[in-house]
Point group: D2
Chain length 344, copies 4
């Protein structure tokens, strides 16, 4: 049994981590920290956990967290980087669900997140936790940067095309859509139900923080910079991300696009390429750690379209974090993650 | 491992049964029948099941279903009663999620369901599958009548008050509310999203079929007829039932109402009496087999109010059916049912 | 043309007032005040108003508001009572959409709203603005206390029964349900879409501030105190209130309940008694100033059930306020209020 | 006053037409036809119309419809083309909200709609009813083909770019999203609330019937064929369309894109170009006949992005139809169409 700590357990990624951890057969949930809720039972805040855990929120403290084998950070950006150095010195492995270790270039990080990076040396060793491209490195990592939700869906969607250099990668388009849980559990007018339900809109068109993250990953795959237009939209539902990706093929396609995707993801337990002609829908992954993908060429033209869906809180956050934990500690990769999506 | 069959696997209770059965450690899902979808993969209709089962829908046939240890009926009312006699003769045990075996009086059944009962002898031996009152009988039953969704929430809410004869049971009021999945997966105008979302209304005020079912159960507990006003409402959400129950206390209350409920349900794995002053909410049981309950007396008056919530598809249908299966086959009662509710 | 001011135009009742005022043919919208948004165009905050008004938010000031014929307060409770005395001294008539002038007894007001009343003399002359019982007094009032949303729907529902002394008015039950816009436009976790959508729950069971308001009005009609159990619920939709009211008839009913309601409201432009057997639904009044009502006796018993629906922001707030304005200034009562509800 | 008939008044476009017609000051609503509902009061089917009209549904008959000045068709595709020739012979002017007269090439029509066109001569004279490009022709038309919902939003979004030849019009991308009312009021599993709410998905990726319609209009503007990838998505809300349009600029942009849009639509009463940096949202047009548009270049690159929103039932159907009627009969173009969008 692993001793597990969760720092920042009051947001939605924290809540989702807790949901998955309390039934994970190899997890002993030891600490859940929250400054604001310290002393309160976790199950009082999240009544779905009643009967599953008696843990109370505690103040975050490196000394107690050091008793853990692995600590998850489900904190605002900029928190983990202050605590991680001490933890890893004490032999604790860390999975950060925030953005602190996602961008390898500290200058780019500062540009998008508005603060200096607090531990660039740790940043240098952190591994980007997308198992489908980094499984081996994750296995031995001390610090895993759990990918963002949009980057997970977008990267998995573009990956086979970029790996095979089949498209004009200077004019990639990602029209992405997310349910409102992506905006977090903080009090805010914009995501009040009376504001965001029965409404659809683009947002963050000036530049979303997931843009440099996706560009970094795709550039790593392509071995050169890529050009990406990235337009997020807010969908009036709680969970789910759908990305519709557009690219122009750069030469004649050799072979079968659908088969290319099937082959690429044949051994991936959490990527499901749908049968040809079937489109993914977000509800098919609600509560599950799966990414479902379709690829097609409308009217047989030279524009390739990919649609991918994930649950932003699972494969886009907490589920992927546990997948990474399973890899790091050499459990079966699917352990504790075999939930069937809730449909309807 | 049990050999399990599901008759009528294309509706929401069927889909939910499948979701729970495919990960149940003692279940071998052998047959799922559907006349309309025969030959099609179950996971093609319900993409959340992709990767969990390769079963295809087949035509319902007593000969093949006879190979099963237990068969669930998730069919329209009036279907099970035609097939059940042959199945039990062949040693198959049956759990009917429809209403065929819920009302013990065949005349009352005919009045509310508009057809003659096809097997009154089987009806006589059928056990009403509410474990909280019938656990022992369920254990040995050949045929279990799985309770309706409203009756489950309403009965569990009134139970401690009726058992202790604390209220005027001739003027019970149940103001009940259900999400739209309760209306089923059949094509219909009334539950199109454009009709039922952003809307709230009472319905079936002339008399809902769950009224005689609740009256029968409460009369059994009280040992005399009870009077019940039962007004259902449609809530613009997918899953969940909340019942608000009103009763006038019939004498001075001795002791503590809250403690009465806590004690009554102390040993029930799927009934959770909330701390005093905390109200239940449907999302706290979304996807889970739990009923959460609160009891209180507004302004300290003589009107007692109870609020109970369930997921209509789980504790109100498929989950309770599997709970009954676990009891019938002497598995741990919670086996395969330890899902944490999906929140948010 | 009336010169009209709105104090506190940034909440939902304010937004709805503005929607109705900008197309009212007798209204010159002169001032809309907001401390937080002062200087900003109203149509920048509420883009639906683009093209309808160029008014900017200004700081609230009695001196400028004194230029108005009528001032609406759509402010938090406790704000209007501080400004109203000066305004009415200057000849301005006031319609308060908050609760400052709703409870005639200042001690009761303090008990429920937690502060001393600032102008009990004005309170004494304020008229409760429910036209269906107070039309004549409204016409000449200097200060109108616009009713709460639940009180409007509940009072109109019980009114014919109480006026005719047909029921046991010591055990009235009101099971009431509201869409989330009733909780206001303030940032809050509880009404984030990810919290309140796909959820249903009772709330404020300790005692809701609308309870004493309803009791006061019904007591006025009955000429004695009434007993009321009042349980509010939150519905996952934006607009709409449905009340289901339960009462036991106190003697044999003389005549026809449905006809009683039809006759009572025959001359009321904004109360619509539905044909017998037809239940109201909230969407039938979305955006409209109408209250639709049904009355029935389930299974012909002695429990009478009434269901009434309103749009909480229109007949439950802004629309009723304008109806009151029309009465006060002797316009046609329906002027500017003939919107057809938006369906679907 | 115009004598007005509506053929097919039981769907959502029909319901919306009725909502707008019953308060239009120049309209006498004479006939509303429906085979299935003949004899029933229109306000019994659509309770929001109670108090606004006493018209009953009647069987459709050319003889009685011939008494009208104008007849709207809100029928399934293929119905209007059979009745229109007789009506226009009798001097009735026609506005068809279905697709019968949208595609000028009868062969293309047959290819996409699967039937021969029944009156190609009338087709030849029909005017595509997008006032922003065809106002003069609409004024004198006997038959107006009211545009589809996606085509309205997409065309208005691309128009200034195409008119000024600023983009590569062979690789246009339209990622479009619609609320579920776009799927109509027919009973169907796919748009049950339990299926389509809390879900987001692309659909009709093989080719949507609005694709040739948009291509035809844009080709007319460009004076040559255009290339368009068109991917529709279903949004879990009732009303609203948002289109996100992507195009690569074909040369250096001269001047200011935002100003180009402002100037193009300066005199259009129902097109609102938002201030720079402000994105449209569908709720800002809910129930209103307005199209709101933004244009921007993410990260200052050579990809131009346009976002436009409409209410699919208003500017995308019934509202635009009444706008066309106003033009045809020389009323003020905004007459009866000055509703403020319902927000929240």
């Amino acid at each position: 049994m692993l001793a597990v700590g969760v720092v920042g357990g009051t947001g939605y990624t924290g809540a989702e981590l807790l949901r998955l951890l309390v039934t994970h057969p190899q997890v002993n949930l030891k600490y859940v920290t929250s400054r604001s809720e310290s002393g309160r039972k976790v199950a009082d805040l999240f009544p779905n956990l009643r009967g599953f855990t008696d843990v109370c929120f505690t103040e975050p403290a490196a000394s107690t967290l050091a008793e853990c084998d692995v600590v998850f950070f489900a904190t605002p950006n900029g928190t983990a980087m202050k605590m991680v150095p001490e933890l890893i010195e004490n032999g604790v492995r860390v999975i950060d669900l925030a953005a602190d270790f996602r961008l390898q270039d500290a200058a780019v990080w500062k540009q998008w997140y508005g603060m200096d990076h607090a531990c660039t040396d740790v940043l240098a060793e952190a591994v980007y936790g997308l198992p489908e491209i980094n499984r081996a490195a994750i296995q031995t990592a001390r610090v895993v940067a759990n990918p963002g939700c949009y980057p997970t869906a977008t990267t998995l969607g573009f990956l086979p095309l970029i790996e095979n250099a089949l498209i004009d990668d200077q004019h990639l388009i990602a029209d992405v859509k997310s349910g409102v849980s992506g905006a977090g559990r903080g009090a805010s007018v914009a995501t009040l139900q009376a504001e965001s339900s029965e409404n659809f809109k683009p947002y963050a068109v000036d530049g979303h923080r997931h843009l440099p993250e996706i560009r970094q990953t795709l550039a790593g795959v392509a071995s050169h910079e890529v050009g990406l237009t990235f337009v997020p939209h807010l969908v009036p539902m709680i969970r789910g991300i759908e990305t519709t990706l557009y690219a122009t093929q750069s030469g004649p396609i050799v072979g079968d696009l659908h088969q290319l995707y099937v082959d690429r993801y044949a051994d991936e337990p959490f990527v499901d390429v749908l049968p040809e002609g079937i489109m993914p829908e977000t509800r098919s992954v609600k509560g599950a750690n799966t990414c479902r993908i379709s690829v097609f060429r409308p009217q047989g033209g030279d524009t390739i379209v990919v649609s991918s869906v994930i649950d932003n809180l699972v494969k886009g956050a907490a589920g992927q974090a546990i997948q990474n934990m399973n890899i790091m500690f050499e459990f079966e990769e699917t352990l504790g993650l075999n939930q069937v999506a809730l449909l309807p």
